[in-house]
Protein backbone atom coordinates (compact mmCIF):
# COMPACT_ATOMS: atom_id res chain seq x y z
CA UNK A 1 0.00 0.00 0.00
CA UNK A 2 1.43 3.33 -1.05
CA UNK A 3 -0.24 6.60 -0.14
CA UNK A 4 2.27 8.79 -1.97
CA UNK A 5 1.44 10.46 -5.26
CA UNK A 6 3.53 9.30 -8.21
CA UNK A 7 6.18 11.74 -9.50
CA UNK A 8 3.89 12.45 -12.42
CA UNK A 9 0.98 13.37 -10.16
CA UNK A 10 3.33 15.38 -7.95
CA UNK A 11 4.29 17.39 -11.00
CA UNK A 12 0.63 17.87 -11.84
CA UNK A 13 -0.08 19.11 -8.31
CA UNK A 14 2.82 21.57 -8.40
CA UNK A 15 1.72 22.78 -11.83
CA UNK A 16 -1.86 23.33 -10.65
CA UNK A 17 -0.65 25.09 -7.50
CA UNK A 18 1.52 27.45 -9.51
CA UNK A 19 -1.23 28.09 -12.01
CA UNK A 20 -3.73 28.74 -9.21
CA UNK A 21 -1.35 31.09 -7.39
CA UNK A 22 -0.61 33.14 -10.50
CA UNK A 23 -3.77 33.00 -12.58
CA UNK A 24 -6.66 32.29 -10.23
CA UNK A 25 -6.00 33.51 -6.68
CA UNK A 26 -5.15 37.15 -7.53
CA UNK A 27 -8.60 37.83 -9.02
CA UNK A 28 -10.75 35.45 -6.94
CA UNK A 29 -12.10 38.01 -4.45
CA UNK A 30 -12.78 40.55 -7.17
CA UNK A 31 -14.69 38.08 -9.35
CA UNK A 32 -16.64 36.87 -6.33
CA UNK A 33 -17.74 40.44 -5.72
CA UNK A 34 -18.58 41.26 -9.35
CA UNK A 35 -19.93 37.85 -10.33
CA UNK A 36 -17.87 38.02 -13.49
CA UNK A 37 -16.95 34.71 -15.14
CA UNK A 38 -13.22 33.82 -14.88
CA UNK A 39 -12.69 33.84 -18.66
CA UNK A 40 -9.02 34.74 -18.51
CA UNK A 41 -8.13 31.77 -16.32
CA UNK A 42 -10.44 29.42 -18.20
CA UNK A 43 -8.86 30.33 -21.56
CA UNK A 44 -5.40 29.73 -20.12
CA UNK A 45 -6.59 26.42 -18.68
CA UNK A 46 -7.83 25.50 -22.15
CA UNK A 47 -4.52 26.35 -23.80
CA UNK A 48 -2.66 24.12 -21.33
CA UNK A 49 -4.95 21.15 -21.88
CA UNK A 50 -6.51 21.32 -18.40
CA UNK A 51 -10.04 21.15 -19.83
CA UNK A 52 -9.32 17.73 -21.29
CA UNK A 53 -7.23 16.24 -18.49
CA UNK A 54 -8.76 12.77 -18.15
CA UNK A 55 -9.48 12.12 -21.83
CA UNK A 56 -7.18 10.20 -24.20
CA UNK A 57 -4.87 12.16 -26.47
CA UNK A 58 -6.40 10.68 -29.62
CA UNK A 59 -9.75 12.20 -28.63
CA UNK A 60 -8.21 15.62 -28.05
CA UNK A 61 -7.50 15.21 -24.33
CA UNK A 62 -4.29 15.47 -22.34
CA UNK A 63 -4.09 11.73 -21.77
CA UNK A 64 -3.95 12.04 -17.98
CA UNK A 65 -6.40 10.42 -15.57
CA UNK A 66 -9.16 11.10 -13.05
CA UNK A 67 -6.66 11.63 -10.23
CA UNK A 68 -4.78 14.34 -12.16
CA UNK A 69 -8.09 16.02 -12.97
CA UNK A 70 -9.16 15.80 -9.33
CA UNK A 71 -5.89 17.43 -8.24
CA UNK A 72 -6.66 20.30 -10.61
CA UNK A 73 -10.17 20.80 -9.21
CA UNK A 74 -8.81 20.64 -5.66
CA UNK A 75 -5.99 23.13 -6.21
CA UNK A 76 -8.07 25.55 -8.28
CA UNK A 77 -10.90 25.45 -5.72
CA UNK A 78 -8.40 26.13 -2.95
CA UNK A 79 -7.83 29.47 -4.69
CA UNK A 80 -11.34 30.02 -6.08
CA UNK A 81 -14.17 27.52 -5.76
CA UNK A 82 -16.06 29.10 -8.67
CA UNK A 83 -13.16 28.41 -11.04
CA UNK A 84 -12.99 24.88 -9.64
CA UNK A 85 -16.61 24.15 -10.49
CA UNK A 86 -16.26 25.55 -14.00
CA UNK A 87 -13.67 22.84 -14.60
CA UNK A 88 -15.60 20.14 -12.76
CA UNK A 89 -18.90 20.80 -14.55
CA UNK A 90 -17.13 21.00 -17.91
CA UNK A 91 -15.11 17.79 -17.55
CA UNK A 92 -17.33 15.53 -15.46
CA UNK A 93 -20.77 16.63 -16.58
CA UNK A 94 -20.33 18.18 -20.02
CA UNK A 95 -17.57 16.15 -21.64
CA UNK A 96 -17.49 12.83 -19.80
CA UNK A 97 -20.94 11.54 -20.84
CA UNK A 98 -19.92 12.00 -24.49
CA UNK A 99 -16.71 10.10 -23.78
CA UNK A 100 -18.54 7.33 -21.95
CA UNK A 101 -21.71 7.02 -23.99
CA UNK A 102 -21.01 8.77 -27.31
CA UNK A 103 -20.45 7.06 -30.63
CA UNK A 104 -17.07 7.50 -32.36
CA UNK A 105 -18.68 10.13 -34.57
CA UNK A 106 -20.12 11.99 -31.55
CA UNK A 107 -16.78 11.82 -29.76
CA UNK A 108 -15.01 13.33 -32.75
CA UNK A 109 -17.65 16.01 -33.25
CA UNK A 110 -18.45 16.99 -29.67
CA UNK A 111 -15.79 15.64 -27.30
CA UNK A 112 -12.77 16.75 -29.37
CA UNK A 113 -13.53 20.50 -29.10
CA UNK A 114 -14.45 20.11 -25.39
CA UNK A 115 -11.30 18.17 -24.51
CA UNK A 116 -9.12 20.63 -26.42
CA UNK A 117 -10.80 23.46 -24.55
CA UNK A 118 -12.12 25.10 -27.71
CA UNK A 119 -15.59 24.75 -26.24
CA UNK A 120 -17.09 24.59 -22.75
CA UNK A 121 -19.54 21.94 -21.65
CA UNK A 122 -22.52 21.78 -19.30
CA UNK A 123 -25.14 19.34 -18.07
CA UNK A 124 -28.87 20.03 -17.82
CA UNK A 125 -30.95 17.68 -15.71
CA UNK A 126 -32.52 19.86 -13.00
CA UNK A 127 -35.93 21.42 -13.58
CA UNK A 128 -38.19 23.54 -11.39
CA UNK A 129 -40.03 20.37 -10.32
CA UNK A 130 -37.26 17.84 -10.82
CA UNK A 131 -34.43 18.32 -8.33
CA UNK A 132 -33.63 15.34 -6.14
CA UNK A 133 -36.61 13.73 -7.89
CA UNK A 134 -34.73 13.83 -11.17
CA UNK A 135 -37.08 11.31 -12.76
CA UNK A 136 -39.92 13.88 -12.82
CA UNK A 137 -38.63 15.41 -16.04
CA UNK A 138 -41.14 17.71 -17.68
CA UNK A 139 -38.99 18.70 -20.64
CA UNK A 140 -40.15 16.70 -23.62
CA UNK A 141 -38.48 15.55 -26.81
CA UNK A 142 -40.88 14.49 -29.54
CA UNK A 143 -39.71 12.86 -32.76
CA UNK A 144 -41.06 14.82 -35.70
CA UNK A 145 -39.82 14.93 -39.27
CA UNK A 146 -36.62 13.06 -38.50
CA UNK A 147 -35.69 15.40 -35.63
CA UNK A 148 -36.41 15.61 -31.93
CA UNK A 149 -38.32 18.71 -30.89
CA UNK A 150 -37.40 19.86 -27.37
CA UNK A 151 -39.73 21.86 -25.15
CA UNK A 152 -39.20 22.73 -21.52
CA UNK A 153 -37.03 24.57 -19.01
CA UNK A 154 -33.91 23.56 -17.11
CA UNK A 155 -32.80 25.55 -14.07
CA UNK A 156 -29.65 26.17 -12.01
CA UNK A 157 -27.39 25.02 -14.85
CA UNK A 158 -23.71 25.44 -14.03
CA UNK A 159 -21.80 26.92 -17.02
CA UNK A 160 -25.20 27.94 -18.40
CA UNK A 161 -24.83 30.46 -21.23
CA UNK A 162 -20.99 30.38 -21.15
CA UNK A 163 -20.95 26.76 -22.34
CA UNK A 164 -21.21 25.80 -25.99
CA UNK A 165 -22.23 22.15 -25.63
CA UNK A 166 -25.00 20.93 -23.31
CA UNK A 167 -26.06 17.45 -22.27
CA UNK A 168 -29.83 17.87 -21.99
CA UNK A 169 -32.26 15.33 -20.56
CA UNK A 170 -35.85 15.10 -21.74
CA UNK A 171 -38.81 12.75 -21.69
CA UNK A 172 -39.16 10.88 -24.96
CA UNK A 173 -41.84 8.52 -23.63
CA UNK A 174 -43.59 9.47 -20.43
CA UNK A 175 -45.41 6.11 -20.20
CA UNK A 176 -42.06 4.38 -19.60
CA UNK A 177 -41.18 6.44 -16.50
CA UNK A 178 -37.45 6.33 -15.77
CA UNK A 179 -36.87 4.46 -19.00
CA UNK A 180 -38.65 7.16 -20.94
CA UNK A 181 -35.87 9.72 -20.40
CA UNK A 182 -33.28 10.34 -23.13
CA UNK A 183 -30.08 12.38 -23.33
CA UNK A 184 -29.22 14.85 -26.10
CA UNK A 185 -26.21 16.92 -27.04
CA UNK A 186 -27.51 20.42 -27.73
CA UNK A 187 -25.28 23.17 -29.06
CA UNK A 188 -25.57 26.82 -28.20
CA UNK A 189 -27.06 28.71 -31.12
CA UNK A 190 -29.58 26.02 -32.01
CA UNK A 191 -32.83 27.85 -32.88
CA UNK A 192 -35.32 27.63 -30.02
CA UNK A 193 -32.59 27.33 -27.35
CA UNK A 194 -32.23 30.43 -25.15
CA UNK A 195 -31.02 31.35 -21.67
CA UNK A 196 -32.64 32.93 -18.64
CA UNK A 197 -30.88 35.61 -16.59
CA UNK A 198 -27.83 34.87 -14.41
CA UNK A 199 -28.74 33.63 -10.94
CA UNK A 200 -27.57 35.84 -8.07
CA UNK A 201 -25.97 33.32 -5.74
CA UNK A 202 -24.72 33.10 -2.14
CA UNK A 203 -21.40 31.58 -3.22
CA UNK A 204 -19.39 30.41 -6.23
CA UNK A 205 -20.48 33.77 -7.58
CA UNK A 206 -17.98 33.92 -10.42
CA UNK A 207 -19.44 30.76 -11.91
CA UNK A 208 -22.29 31.06 -14.37
CA UNK A 209 -25.69 29.64 -13.37
CA UNK A 210 -28.69 30.12 -15.66
CA UNK A 211 -31.95 28.73 -16.87
CA UNK A 212 -32.03 26.95 -20.22
CA UNK A 213 -35.21 27.44 -22.22
CA UNK A 214 -36.21 25.15 -25.07
CA UNK A 215 -39.06 26.26 -27.33
CA UNK A 216 -39.62 23.97 -30.30
CA UNK A 217 -35.90 23.43 -30.40
CA UNK A 218 -35.12 20.92 -33.17
CA UNK A 219 -32.29 18.48 -32.50
CA UNK A 220 -30.95 16.03 -35.11
CA UNK A 221 -31.40 12.39 -34.09
CA UNK A 222 -27.62 12.02 -34.40
CA UNK A 223 -27.32 14.18 -31.26
CA UNK A 224 -28.95 11.58 -29.01
CA UNK A 225 -26.50 10.08 -26.51
CA UNK A 226 -26.98 6.37 -26.15
CA UNK A 227 -30.34 4.95 -27.14
CA UNK A 228 -33.81 6.33 -26.55
CA UNK A 229 -34.59 5.67 -22.88
CA UNK A 230 -30.93 5.56 -21.77
CA UNK A 231 -31.12 9.08 -20.33
CA UNK A 232 -31.65 8.29 -16.66
CA UNK A 233 -28.84 5.75 -16.61
CA UNK A 234 -26.54 8.24 -18.36
CA UNK A 235 -27.49 10.98 -15.88
CA UNK A 236 -26.90 8.80 -12.81
CA UNK A 237 -23.59 7.39 -14.02
CA UNK A 238 -22.43 10.86 -15.02
CA UNK A 239 -23.30 12.19 -11.57
CA UNK A 240 -21.34 9.34 -9.95
CA UNK A 241 -18.23 10.69 -11.66
CA UNK A 242 -19.21 14.31 -11.10
CA UNK A 243 -19.41 13.73 -7.38
CA UNK A 244 -15.68 13.05 -7.24
CA UNK A 245 -15.19 16.45 -8.87
CA UNK A 246 -17.43 18.23 -6.36
CA UNK A 247 -15.79 16.31 -3.53
CA UNK A 248 -12.44 17.66 -4.78
CA UNK A 249 -13.89 21.16 -4.94
CA UNK A 250 -15.08 20.84 -1.32
CA UNK A 251 -11.67 19.47 -0.34
CA UNK A 252 -9.96 22.48 -1.91
CA UNK A 253 -12.28 24.88 -0.05
CA UNK A 254 -11.66 23.06 3.25
CA UNK A 255 -7.91 23.09 2.69
CA UNK A 256 -8.06 26.83 2.04
CA UNK A 257 -9.93 27.27 5.33
CA UNK A 258 -7.13 25.43 7.11
CA UNK A 259 -4.43 27.41 5.26
CA UNK A 260 -6.03 30.70 6.30
CA UNK A 261 -6.64 29.57 9.88
CA UNK A 262 -3.07 28.37 10.41
CA UNK A 263 -1.63 31.58 9.02
CA UNK A 264 -3.96 33.76 11.11
CA UNK A 265 -3.41 31.71 14.28
CA UNK A 266 0.33 32.34 13.98
CA UNK A 267 0.01 36.05 13.22
CA UNK A 268 -2.84 37.29 15.36
CA UNK A 269 -1.81 38.33 18.85
CA UNK A 270 -4.15 38.44 21.83
CA UNK A 271 -3.06 38.62 25.45
CA UNK A 272 0.46 39.28 24.02
CA UNK A 273 0.65 35.87 22.39
CA UNK A 274 -0.23 34.43 18.99
CA UNK A 275 -3.75 32.96 19.27
CA UNK A 276 -2.35 29.66 17.97
CA UNK A 277 -0.80 29.17 21.40
CA UNK A 278 -4.28 28.87 22.94
CA UNK A 279 -5.79 25.43 23.20
CA UNK A 280 -9.21 26.66 22.03
CA UNK A 281 -7.69 27.53 18.65
CA UNK A 282 -5.34 24.54 18.56
CA UNK A 283 -8.22 22.11 18.88
CA UNK A 284 -10.16 23.69 16.06
CA UNK A 285 -7.10 23.48 13.84
CA UNK A 286 -6.42 19.87 14.82
CA UNK A 287 -10.00 18.88 13.95
CA UNK A 288 -9.82 20.73 10.66
CA UNK A 289 -6.58 19.04 9.66
CA UNK A 290 -7.85 15.60 10.62
CA UNK A 291 -11.16 15.87 8.77
CA UNK A 292 -9.42 17.28 5.70
CA UNK A 293 -6.93 14.41 5.57
CA UNK A 294 -9.78 11.91 5.92
CA UNK A 295 -11.69 13.67 3.14
CA UNK A 296 -8.60 13.70 0.93
CA UNK A 297 -8.11 9.95 1.30
CA UNK A 298 -11.76 9.34 0.40
CA UNK A 299 -11.60 11.64 -2.61
CA UNK A 300 -8.35 10.25 -4.00
CA UNK A 301 -9.50 6.68 -3.46
CA UNK A 302 -12.73 7.32 -5.36
CA UNK A 303 -10.68 8.82 -8.21
CA UNK A 304 -8.30 5.87 -8.11
CA UNK A 305 -11.16 3.37 -8.24
CA UNK A 306 -12.54 5.14 -11.30
CA UNK A 307 -9.11 5.06 -12.95
CA UNK A 308 -8.84 1.34 -12.14
CA UNK A 309 -12.24 0.85 -13.80
CA UNK A 310 -13.64 -0.60 -10.60
CA UNK A 311 -17.06 0.25 -9.13
CA UNK A 312 -16.87 3.65 -7.45
CA UNK A 313 -20.45 4.86 -7.02
CA UNK A 314 -20.63 4.32 -3.25
CA UNK A 315 -17.10 5.62 -2.70
CA UNK A 316 -17.79 8.74 -4.78
CA UNK A 317 -20.91 9.40 -2.70
CA UNK A 318 -18.94 8.90 0.53
CA UNK A 319 -16.19 11.22 -0.69
CA UNK A 320 -18.67 13.90 -1.71
CA UNK A 321 -20.69 13.62 1.50
CA UNK A 322 -17.69 13.74 3.78
CA UNK A 323 -15.70 16.37 1.88
CA UNK A 324 -18.66 18.74 1.50
CA UNK A 325 -19.67 18.46 5.15
CA UNK A 326 -16.03 18.95 6.14
CA UNK A 327 -15.88 22.07 3.98
CA UNK A 328 -19.04 23.51 5.50
CA UNK A 329 -18.15 22.70 9.10
CA UNK A 330 -14.61 23.96 8.93
CA UNK A 331 -15.18 27.10 6.89
CA UNK A 332 -17.51 28.13 9.73
CA UNK A 333 -14.73 27.25 12.20
CA UNK A 334 -12.21 29.20 10.13
CA UNK A 335 -14.33 32.31 10.59
CA UNK A 336 -14.43 31.54 14.32
CA UNK A 337 -10.63 31.40 14.37
CA UNK A 338 -10.58 34.82 12.68
CA UNK A 339 -13.16 36.29 15.07
CA UNK A 340 -14.67 39.59 13.91
CA UNK A 341 -12.14 39.98 11.12
CA UNK A 342 -13.34 36.72 9.62
CA UNK A 343 -16.81 38.15 9.18
CA UNK A 344 -15.43 40.94 7.02
CA UNK A 345 -14.99 40.69 3.26
CA UNK A 346 -11.34 41.72 3.64
CA UNK A 347 -10.56 38.16 4.67
CA UNK A 348 -10.91 35.11 2.46
CA UNK A 349 -12.71 32.91 5.01
CA UNK A 350 -16.14 34.53 4.59
CA UNK A 351 -16.02 33.68 0.86
CA UNK A 352 -14.96 30.14 1.71
CA UNK A 353 -17.99 29.71 3.96
CA UNK A 354 -20.37 31.00 1.29
CA UNK A 355 -18.71 28.81 -1.37
CA UNK A 356 -18.77 25.69 0.81
CA UNK A 357 -22.55 25.51 1.17
CA UNK A 358 -23.30 24.57 -2.43
CA UNK A 359 -21.11 21.48 -2.22
CA UNK A 360 -23.67 19.97 0.17
CA UNK A 361 -26.41 20.62 -2.37
CA UNK A 362 -25.47 20.22 -6.02
CA UNK A 363 -24.79 16.96 -7.85
CA UNK A 364 -26.88 15.29 -5.18
CA UNK A 365 -27.58 16.75 -1.74
CA UNK A 366 -25.95 15.22 1.32
CA UNK A 367 -29.25 13.42 1.85
CA UNK A 368 -29.03 11.89 -1.63
CA UNK A 369 -25.46 10.77 -0.92
CA UNK A 370 -26.68 9.04 2.24
CA UNK A 371 -29.39 7.34 0.18
CA UNK A 372 -26.81 6.10 -2.33
CA UNK A 373 -24.45 4.92 0.39
CA UNK A 374 -27.08 3.18 2.50
CA UNK A 375 -28.69 1.57 -0.55
CA UNK A 376 -25.32 0.08 -1.38
CA UNK A 377 -24.65 -1.06 2.20
CA UNK A 378 -28.11 -2.52 2.77
CA UNK A 379 -28.61 -4.26 -0.54
Amino acid sequence: MDFALSKKHEMFRTLFQEFAAQEIAPVAAELDESGEFPWLAVRKMASLGFLGLPFPKDLGGAGADTLAYILAVEEFSRACAATGVVLSAHVSLGAHPIYQFGTKEQQARFLGPLAKGEKLGAFALTEPNAGTDAASQQTTAVLSGGEYVLNGTKIFITNGEVADTYIVFAMTDRSKGLKGISAFVVEKGTPGFTFGPQENKLGIRASSTTELIFEDCRIPTGNMLGKEGDGFKIAMQTLDGGRIGIAAQALGIAQAALDESVRYAKERQQFSKPIGTFQAIQWMIADMGTDIEAARLLVYRAAWLKDMRRPFSKEAAMAKLYASETAMKHTVKAIQVHGGYGYMKDYKVERLMRDAKITEIYEGTSEVQRMVISASLLK
Partner: protein, 262 residues
Amino acid sequence: MKIVVCIKQVPNTTEVKFDQKTGTLIREGLPTIINPEDKNALEEALAIAGAVGGQVTVLTMGPAQADYALRETLAMGAHEAILLSDRAFAGADTWATSYALAKAVEKLGEFSLIFCGRQAIDGDTAQVGPELAEHLDIPHITYVRRIVALDEKTVVVERALEDGYEIVESTLPALLTTLKELNVPRYPSAGGVITAFDEKKVMVWTAEIVGADPAKIGLKGSPTQVKRTFTPPVKGTGKMLTGTHKEMVQQLIQELRTKHVL
Protein backbone atom coordinates in the same frame (compact mmCIF):
# COMPACT_ATOMS: atom_id res chain seq x y z
CA MET B 1 18.81 25.32 -34.92
CA LYS B 2 20.28 23.08 -32.27
CA ILE B 3 20.14 24.57 -28.79
CA VAL B 4 21.50 23.22 -25.52
CA VAL B 5 20.15 24.40 -22.18
CA CYS B 6 21.96 23.71 -18.92
CA ILE B 7 19.89 23.60 -15.77
CA LYS B 8 20.43 22.91 -12.10
CA GLN B 9 18.06 21.37 -9.60
CA VAL B 10 18.23 23.49 -6.45
CA PRO B 11 16.53 23.56 -3.04
CA ASN B 12 13.45 25.78 -3.04
CA THR B 13 14.97 28.59 -1.01
CA THR B 14 11.61 30.15 -0.27
CA GLU B 15 11.03 27.16 1.99
CA VAL B 16 14.54 26.91 3.38
CA LYS B 17 15.10 26.56 7.10
CA PHE B 18 18.45 27.15 8.75
CA ASP B 19 19.95 25.33 11.65
CA GLN B 20 20.30 28.26 14.02
CA LYS B 21 23.27 26.70 15.86
CA THR B 22 25.47 25.75 12.91
CA GLY B 23 24.20 28.33 10.43
CA THR B 24 23.86 25.64 7.78
CA LEU B 25 20.98 24.77 5.51
CA ILE B 26 18.62 22.02 6.63
CA ARG B 27 18.50 20.06 3.38
CA GLU B 28 16.43 17.17 4.64
CA GLY B 29 12.98 17.00 3.11
CA LEU B 30 13.51 20.27 1.30
CA PRO B 31 11.50 20.51 -1.92
CA THR B 32 13.58 21.03 -5.03
CA ILE B 33 12.90 23.21 -8.04
CA ILE B 34 14.56 24.06 -11.32
CA ASN B 35 16.80 27.05 -10.65
CA PRO B 36 14.53 29.99 -11.61
CA GLU B 37 16.87 31.68 -14.09
CA ASP B 38 17.50 28.33 -15.77
CA LYS B 39 13.80 28.30 -16.54
CA ASN B 40 14.28 31.61 -18.35
CA ALA B 41 17.12 29.97 -20.26
CA LEU B 42 14.85 27.10 -21.25
CA GLU B 43 11.98 29.40 -22.16
CA GLU B 44 14.19 31.40 -24.52
CA ALA B 45 15.46 28.23 -26.15
CA LEU B 46 11.93 26.87 -26.57
CA ALA B 47 10.71 30.17 -27.98
CA ILE B 48 13.54 30.27 -30.53
CA ALA B 49 13.01 26.63 -31.48
CA GLY B 50 9.30 27.34 -31.81
CA ALA B 51 9.88 30.39 -34.01
CA VAL B 52 12.65 29.21 -36.33
CA GLY B 53 12.47 25.46 -35.86
CA GLY B 54 15.01 23.50 -33.92
CA GLN B 55 15.86 21.02 -31.28
CA VAL B 56 16.24 21.83 -27.57
CA THR B 57 18.39 19.50 -25.49
CA VAL B 58 18.47 20.01 -21.73
CA LEU B 59 21.51 18.99 -19.78
CA THR B 60 22.11 18.77 -16.06
CA MET B 61 24.67 17.21 -13.79
CA GLY B 62 23.37 15.85 -10.54
CA PRO B 63 22.14 12.89 -8.53
CA ALA B 64 19.42 10.53 -9.74
CA GLN B 65 16.72 12.78 -8.25
CA ALA B 66 17.54 15.43 -10.87
CA ASP B 67 15.55 13.22 -13.24
CA TYR B 68 12.46 15.02 -11.92
CA ALA B 69 13.79 18.46 -12.93
CA LEU B 70 14.57 17.15 -16.40
CA ARG B 71 11.06 15.68 -16.70
CA GLU B 72 9.73 19.14 -15.96
CA THR B 73 11.75 20.58 -18.85
CA LEU B 74 10.40 17.84 -21.12
CA ALA B 75 6.89 18.75 -19.93
CA MET B 76 7.59 22.35 -20.89
CA GLY B 77 8.52 21.20 -24.37
CA ALA B 78 12.23 20.32 -24.45
CA HIS B 79 12.96 17.66 -27.05
CA GLU B 80 15.47 15.61 -25.13
CA ALA B 81 17.04 15.56 -21.69
CA ILE B 82 20.35 14.26 -20.49
CA LEU B 83 21.33 13.61 -16.89
CA LEU B 84 25.05 13.51 -16.24
CA SER B 85 25.17 11.29 -13.22
CA ASP B 86 28.03 9.33 -11.80
CA ARG B 87 29.55 8.91 -8.34
CA ALA B 88 32.79 10.09 -9.92
CA PHE B 89 31.24 13.56 -10.48
CA ALA B 90 30.45 13.99 -6.76
CA GLY B 91 32.03 16.92 -4.93
CA ALA B 92 32.63 18.90 -8.11
CA ASP B 93 33.18 22.65 -7.86
CA THR B 94 32.19 24.96 -10.73
CA TRP B 95 35.33 24.17 -12.71
CA ALA B 96 34.92 20.40 -12.57
CA THR B 97 31.19 20.77 -13.21
CA SER B 98 31.68 22.93 -16.28
CA TYR B 99 34.33 20.50 -17.56
CA ALA B 100 31.90 17.58 -17.25
CA LEU B 101 29.14 19.59 -18.96
CA ALA B 102 31.58 20.51 -21.75
CA LYS B 103 32.37 16.86 -22.35
CA ALA B 104 28.65 16.13 -22.62
CA VAL B 105 28.11 19.04 -25.04
CA GLU B 106 31.01 17.76 -27.17
CA LYS B 107 29.37 14.37 -27.30
CA LEU B 108 26.11 15.96 -28.44
CA GLY B 109 27.85 17.28 -31.54
CA GLU B 110 27.17 20.52 -33.39
CA PHE B 111 25.06 23.21 -31.84
CA SER B 112 24.33 26.92 -32.35
CA LEU B 113 23.51 28.18 -28.89
CA ILE B 114 23.91 27.19 -25.27
CA PHE B 115 21.69 28.85 -22.69
CA CYS B 116 22.45 28.85 -18.98
CA GLY B 117 20.71 30.70 -16.20
CA ARG B 118 22.77 33.58 -14.82
CA GLN B 119 23.44 31.82 -11.52
CA ALA B 120 21.93 29.23 -9.21
CA ILE B 121 20.06 30.38 -6.11
CA ASP B 122 21.93 27.91 -3.90
CA GLY B 123 25.55 28.64 -4.87
CA ASP B 124 25.20 32.10 -6.44
CA THR B 125 28.57 31.79 -8.21
CA ALA B 126 27.50 32.58 -11.80
CA GLN B 127 30.63 30.72 -12.90
CA VAL B 128 29.46 27.53 -14.59
CA GLY B 129 28.08 29.22 -17.71
CA PRO B 130 31.18 31.24 -18.60
CA GLU B 131 33.49 28.36 -17.64
CA LEU B 132 31.57 25.99 -19.89
CA ALA B 133 32.09 28.41 -22.78
CA GLU B 134 35.82 28.55 -22.02
CA HIS B 135 36.10 24.76 -21.96
CA LEU B 136 34.35 24.65 -25.34
CA ASP B 137 36.36 27.60 -26.63
CA ILE B 138 33.31 29.55 -27.79
CA PRO B 139 32.25 33.15 -27.05
CA HIS B 140 29.85 33.84 -24.20
CA ILE B 141 27.66 36.76 -23.20
CA THR B 142 26.43 36.99 -19.62
CA TYR B 143 23.37 38.77 -18.14
CA VAL B 144 21.28 38.63 -21.31
CA ARG B 145 18.02 40.48 -20.82
CA ARG B 146 16.81 40.59 -24.43
CA ILE B 147 17.67 38.95 -27.72
CA VAL B 148 17.69 41.68 -30.34
CA ALA B 149 18.47 39.60 -33.43
CA LEU B 150 19.37 36.05 -34.29
CA ASP B 151 20.25 34.34 -37.54
CA GLU B 152 22.22 31.26 -38.47
CA LYS B 153 25.56 32.93 -37.92
CA THR B 154 25.18 35.66 -35.32
CA VAL B 155 23.26 36.71 -32.25
CA VAL B 156 22.74 40.26 -30.99
CA VAL B 157 21.64 40.74 -27.39
CA GLU B 158 21.07 43.36 -24.74
CA ARG B 159 23.37 42.62 -21.84
CA ALA B 160 22.38 44.16 -18.53
CA LEU B 161 24.87 46.25 -16.60
CA GLU B 162 24.41 47.69 -13.16
CA ASP B 163 23.30 51.07 -14.46
CA GLY B 164 22.15 50.36 -18.00
CA TYR B 165 22.78 47.87 -20.74
CA GLU B 166 25.04 47.26 -23.70
CA ILE B 167 24.28 45.73 -27.05
CA VAL B 168 26.63 42.89 -27.85
CA GLU B 169 26.97 40.89 -31.04
CA SER B 170 28.57 37.48 -31.23
CA THR B 171 29.18 34.82 -33.82
CA LEU B 172 27.59 31.42 -33.30
CA PRO B 173 28.03 29.03 -31.66
CA ALA B 174 27.86 31.04 -28.46
CA LEU B 175 26.82 30.64 -24.87
CA LEU B 176 24.37 33.09 -23.25
CA THR B 177 23.49 33.38 -19.58
CA THR B 178 19.99 34.64 -18.93
CA LEU B 179 18.31 37.00 -16.51
CA LYS B 180 14.73 36.70 -15.36
CA GLU B 181 13.85 39.90 -17.23
CA LEU B 182 14.39 38.00 -20.47
CA ASN B 183 10.99 36.32 -20.54
CA VAL B 184 8.21 34.66 -18.58
CA PRO B 185 8.71 30.88 -18.53
CA ARG B 186 5.74 28.95 -19.84
CA TYR B 187 3.74 26.47 -17.79
CA PRO B 188 4.14 22.83 -18.70
CA SER B 189 0.97 21.70 -20.48
CA ALA B 190 -1.05 18.78 -19.13
CA GLY B 191 -0.25 16.78 -22.25
CA GLY B 192 3.39 17.76 -21.81
CA VAL B 193 3.50 16.22 -18.33
CA ILE B 194 2.12 12.98 -19.76
CA THR B 195 4.67 13.06 -22.59
CA ALA B 196 7.49 13.70 -20.12
CA PHE B 197 6.67 10.69 -17.97
CA ASP B 198 4.99 8.21 -20.28
CA GLU B 199 6.50 8.83 -23.68
CA LYS B 200 10.00 10.29 -23.29
CA LYS B 201 13.15 9.07 -21.62
CA VAL B 202 15.83 10.91 -19.69
CA MET B 203 19.19 9.70 -20.92
CA VAL B 204 21.73 9.05 -18.17
CA TRP B 205 25.35 9.65 -19.11
CA THR B 206 28.26 8.59 -16.91
CA ALA B 207 31.79 9.99 -16.85
CA GLU B 208 32.86 7.12 -19.06
CA ILE B 209 30.11 7.70 -21.61
CA VAL B 210 31.15 11.35 -22.11
CA GLY B 211 34.84 10.41 -22.04
CA ALA B 212 35.74 12.64 -19.10
CA ASP B 213 39.28 12.56 -17.75
CA PRO B 214 38.95 11.06 -14.22
CA ALA B 215 41.54 13.54 -12.94
CA LYS B 216 39.40 16.52 -14.01
CA ILE B 217 36.06 15.57 -12.46
CA GLY B 218 34.55 15.34 -9.01
CA LEU B 219 36.41 16.37 -5.90
CA LYS B 220 39.76 15.48 -7.49
CA GLY B 221 39.20 17.86 -10.37
CA SER B 222 38.03 20.71 -8.17
CA PRO B 223 40.58 23.41 -7.32
CA THR B 224 38.13 25.25 -5.04
CA GLN B 225 38.57 24.58 -1.34
CA VAL B 226 35.94 25.86 1.05
CA LYS B 227 37.63 26.95 4.27
CA ARG B 228 34.59 28.12 6.14
CA THR B 229 30.98 29.09 5.53
CA PHE B 230 29.20 31.64 7.62
CA THR B 231 26.01 33.63 7.72
CA PRO B 232 26.72 37.29 6.97
CA PRO B 233 25.68 39.65 9.75
CA VAL B 234 22.19 41.07 9.40
CA LYS B 235 22.24 44.61 8.03
CA GLY B 236 21.10 47.36 10.40
CA THR B 237 17.53 48.51 10.15
CA GLY B 238 16.72 51.51 7.99
CA LYS B 239 15.98 54.90 9.43
CA MET B 240 12.54 56.38 8.80
CA LEU B 241 12.40 60.11 8.28
CA THR B 242 9.37 62.04 9.43
CA GLY B 243 7.94 65.53 8.91
CA THR B 244 6.92 67.47 5.83
CA HIS B 245 8.47 66.62 2.48
CA LYS B 246 10.77 69.61 2.78
CA GLU B 247 11.91 68.63 6.26
CA MET B 248 12.50 65.04 5.22
CA VAL B 249 14.57 66.10 2.20
CA GLN B 250 16.63 68.37 4.44
CA GLN B 251 17.21 65.56 6.92
CA LEU B 252 18.15 63.23 4.06
CA ILE B 253 20.69 65.68 2.63
CA GLN B 254 22.14 66.21 6.10
CA GLU B 255 22.41 62.47 6.63
CA LEU B 256 24.08 61.91 3.26
CA ARG B 257 26.55 64.71 3.98
CA THR B 258 27.48 63.19 7.33
CA LYS B 259 28.16 59.92 5.58
CA HIS B 260 30.17 61.78 2.92
CA VAL B 261 27.92 60.53 0.15
CA LEU B 262 27.34 64.12 -0.96
